[in-house]
């Protein structure tokens, strides 16, 4: 009994240490935005002696932050929407239409999943340029959708195939067409997997940095990941401003995580495991 208790204590001390390792930088970031530079220097991690609100206020002052958020949101929204529509349509042809040779096409999509997105980034850039999509939000959305397809088709197909086949047989006997079956039966039954894939695409798109960096040139088009790097470039080592900015920009993701925890964990790890 005594030995067990010792192990418990050891375990909790260890967990608390790791939790500290995870949380201290985050708390320091949130609090850092409330400190003057001088205080930040002498007291980087503790509560501020004097709470300064001007750095947070200045993040919102010129309104550019809303534009960044809006752009990020537009990119994410259309990436999710298109991935869900195109992904389910394609997966449906594999799970229910089962045309001759569908397995080859399916494997073609799967092989692409192993391709590192960054490897062909230069030809991709030239392609986006030649299609006239450079410096437009669709230039970010479309490649993002293309890269998410393999993974989402895999998840959708295995989900569709697990749906009871009696449904399909009954619908066909009643003369329901394939498109109607897809729209009225498959999609309504697939909300769990739609949520899983949707969350995965949403988070990946919201956090994406390389592709917008490549495609977008004008500040009016920037998502927040580019905006944050620019802000840091402008203010150099005025860390209190930068920390305030970081705090504001990561807040939506954290709030979303706290509310949709179950779906996010499922989407980011459950999806990975099934893949």
């Amino acid at each position: 009994m005594f030995a067990m208790r010792k192990i418990r204590w050891g375990k909790y001390i260890f967990l608390m240490l790791v939790a500290g390792f995870v949380l201290v930088p985050m708390f320091a970031t949130v609090l850092g935005g409330f400190k003057s530079l001088g205080e930040l220097r002498t007291n980087p991690f503790g509560l501020p002696d004097v709470w300064e609100f001007e750095y947070y206020a200045q993040v919102f002052a010129d309104g550019s932050i809303w534009l960044l958020m809006k752009n990020s949101l537009i990119i994410a929204f259309f990436s999710v929407l298109l991935t869900l529509i195109i992904g389910t349509m394609t997966a449906f042809t594999f799970s229910h239409i089962k045309f001759a040779g569908y397995k080859y096409i399916y494997n073609y999509f799967l092989i692409g999943m192993m391709f590192p997105a960054a490897a062909a980034i230069l030809p991709l850039f030239l392609k986006i340029r030649d299609l006239g999509l450079l410096d437009s939000l669709s230039g970010v959305v479309i490649p993002q959708v293309a890269f998410g397809l393999g993974f989402s088709i895999l998840l959708f197909r295995s989900f569709f195939e697990q749906l009871p086949s009696e449904l399909f047989d009954a619908a066909r006997v009643d003369g329901c067409s394939y498109i109607k079956f897809y729209w009225h039966v498959i999609l309504p039954l697939s909300t769990p997997i739609l949520a899983t894939v949707g969350v995965f695409v949403l988070v990946a798109s919201w956090n994406n940095y390389l592709l917008p960096l490549l495609v977008l040139n004008t500040e009016q088009q920037y998502p927040w990941t580019l905006g944050i790097m620019q802000y840091r470039g402008e203010y150099g080592i005025e860390w209190n401003r930068i920390l305030a900015y970081v705090t504001v920009t990561i807040t939506p993701a954290i709030v979303f995580f706290l509310f949709a925890q179950k779906y996010i964990v499922e989407g980011l790890t459950g999806g990975a495991v099934k893949g």
Binding site: P44, P116, A118, A120, F147, I153, R172, V203, Y209, V273
Partner: protein, 315 residues
């Protein structure tokens, strides 16, 4: 004679038309074929144009010296690859990428496993710990990078405390050629261990409880229950997480940019940040494509050998 031939031809062509329409009718029940023609091409086109074709083009462009304008014309054979392998910064980038893989396998995954084993059971305290440990994973890499850039700043963050305590000069670790990459490795562990922990927790919750009970009844110690029962049963989760951590390590980029941008003096590049710095920012399409091809080959060789050897019997 000729008349006969034409009539035969006519007859066979009408019958083949009939065959086609019969085949179409037979296969188009419920608009099956029309649906296919509507549903398949969007994905096929997008995927081919933006994922598959660029890889092939990278291979082709890598044999040219080209700035991306007009047609590639200056054929240079393999000299881009020769230049690449002679470049010291590329060596460092490869070596750094290898270090990320090593740290993932030796520190990050075992840490994730130990934590998963201690908090996989359902209780409110465990849920809270899970939530905390997963938090860094949902942050964008650029935000995480900036947070840690502050923590590592010689004048402000933890490093300032550290040097103050030791009474030494201020130490800008991210500007220190010998230590900057160690600092990056710390951030990588911080950012990603929660993801692997979640994979293990999901696997552990699927282990049947009676197996663990049975092993306890047979007199197995805690350690034996972990080593001989739990770990073998979650092996498929472990294989998957190794797979993801190595593929992810090969493509590390976003975290490097806010932390060091590859500096000081190109000592902290990874394969992708090297590709970005020397290929994209200078529009060396040929050279950059050669880096991409090397990266591609590394990933594909790894993925195929891993899947055909280690993951094969797990599926």
């Amino acid at each position: 004679m000729s008349n006969e031939v034409t009539t035969i031809g006519k007859r066979s062509s009408t019958s083949s038309n009939q065959n086609v329409s019969r085949w179409f009718k037979k296969n188009n029940h419920g608009n099956r074929l029309l649906t296919l023609v509507l549903f398949l091409p969007p994905a096929l086109l997008l995927f081919t144009i933006f994922v598959i074709l660029p890889i092939g083009e990278a291979g082709y462009y890598s044999l040219f010296r080209w700035n991306g304008y007009g047609e590639p014309s200056q054929w240079v054979e393999f000299s881009n690859y020769v230049r690449l392998f002679k470049h010291g910064a590329f060596d460092t980038a490869v070596w750094n990428t290898f270090k990320i893989i090593l740290i993932s396998l030796v520190i990050q995954l075992p840490l994730a496993l130990i934590i998963a084993l201690s908090i996989y059971k359902k209780s409110w305290a465990n849920s809270l710990f899970r939530l905390i440990f997963f938090l860094p994973y949902i942050l964008a890499e650029v935000a995480a990078g900036l947070i840690w850039r502050f923590v590592f700043d010689g004048d402000y963050g933890v490093m300032a405390r550290f040097t103050e305590a030791l009474n030494t000069d201020t130490w800008y670790i991210l500007a220190d050629k010998n230590w900057a990459f160690v600092a990056i490795l710390v951030v990588l562990v911080w950012k990603y261990f929660g993801f692997h922990m979640m994979i293990y927790i999901a696997a552990l919750q699927g282990v049947p409880k009676d197996l663990i009970e049975a092993s306890k009844l047979d007199g197995a110690s805690r350690f034996q229950a972990i080593w001989y029962v739990k770990i073998p049963l979650i092996m498929s989760g472990i294989t998957i997480s190794i797979f993801f951590s190595i593929l992810g390590a090969l493509q590390t980029f976003d975290l490097i940019m806010p932390l060091t941008g590859g500096g000081p003096s190109n000592s902290t590049h990874t394969l992708v940040s090297y590709l970005y710095t020397f290929g994209i920012t200078r529009m060396n399409v040929g050279f950059g494509s050669a880096v991409g091809v090397v990266l591609f080959i590394c990933c594909v060789i790894f993925a195929f050998t891993y899947q055909s050897t280690i993951m094969k019997d797990k599926k």
